[in-house]
Symmetry: C2
Subunit: 164 residues, 2 copies
């Protein structure tokens, strides 16, 4: 029997599961990053982002509901690799004045992964006529971009001045 041809709906669902898994991994990683960060400002940023991440997971669950599918993740090697690199960095740079600069960079790698995936999902939701889903992705995308911008500003200001 020939394989059923996959469509954009399949790609959409697959990527939804991918980012659902990724968000859950990020939710687990954020408290560790907050704990390791030295700067209070950075700790606070991670705590805020943890709360946002919980809301983002709920938005994804809404989209699964719209599709009439159970909310389920699928292992995402990309986020696993990004988080693993962050962990190694926190070990290698423990007690280093450059620790926070490294944690910031690791967090920005996470943000950019989310930005790219939500960007694709938003485009596809629009193409598939799922305007409500597109709006949810758009809201998350705005949060991710704001977080990335905040982290960039922090990287450019105090953390690196301290580390240099």
């Amino acid at each position: 029997m020939a394989k059923t041809e996959k469509t954009l709906d399949d790609l959409f669902l697959h990527t939804l599961k991918d980012i659902y898994y990724a968000e859950k991994q990020i939710l687990k990683a954020l408290p560790k990053m907050a704990k390791n960060a030295e700067s209070e400002e950075l700790k606070a940023a991670f705590e805020t982002h943890r709360e946002q991440t919980q809301g983002q997971i709920e938005r994804l669950e809404e989209v699964f509901k719209m599709l009439g599918k159970p909310a389920r993740g699928v292992a995402c090697e990309a986020i696993n690799g990004i988080i693993e690199e962050g962990k190694e960095l926190m070990e290698d740079f423990a007690d280093s004045p450059a620790l926070d600069a490294g944690i910031l960079a690791a967090a920005q790698a996470v943000e950019h992964y989310e930005i790219t995936r939500y960007g694709s999902l938003r485009t596809w939701a629009n193409e598939l006529g799922m305007k409500d889903a597109a709006k949810l992705f758009d809201a998350t995308l705005k949060e991710e971009k704001d977080t990335d911008l905040l982290l960039s500003r922090m990287a450019e200001s105090r953390v690196n001045v301290k580390a240099a």
Copy 2:
């Protein structure tokens, strides 16, 4: 003996090696993505980006030279995971009308990884007073952002319309 304390210079060199490895993996992955892409426009975009990537690798080699260090990569789990996901997608969506949409998304995940790493490197180069290195990273960053924008436009226009 106590471990020598790591500084921002160490973080900079480590990340330089990380992106050097990543660029080399990307250079190998791009022809495969071009080969799998159905759209001529997408194939051409990957070919152009392959040439850019070669130039970006040369810029990294210049920075290694500025540091008086051999140009050497260090395994980067993040890019390995991102590329692996792209490969799986190309297999799962072979002969699917959504193949190009998926390849585009995979390529954008690669771009965003590069954007975040070059952004951190540029910030650190400035902090470390390496203005010439910062300029090289800035040139690459501009290319990566342009490529991402081009891919976004392609995703929003024909590829997805075809796949929907």
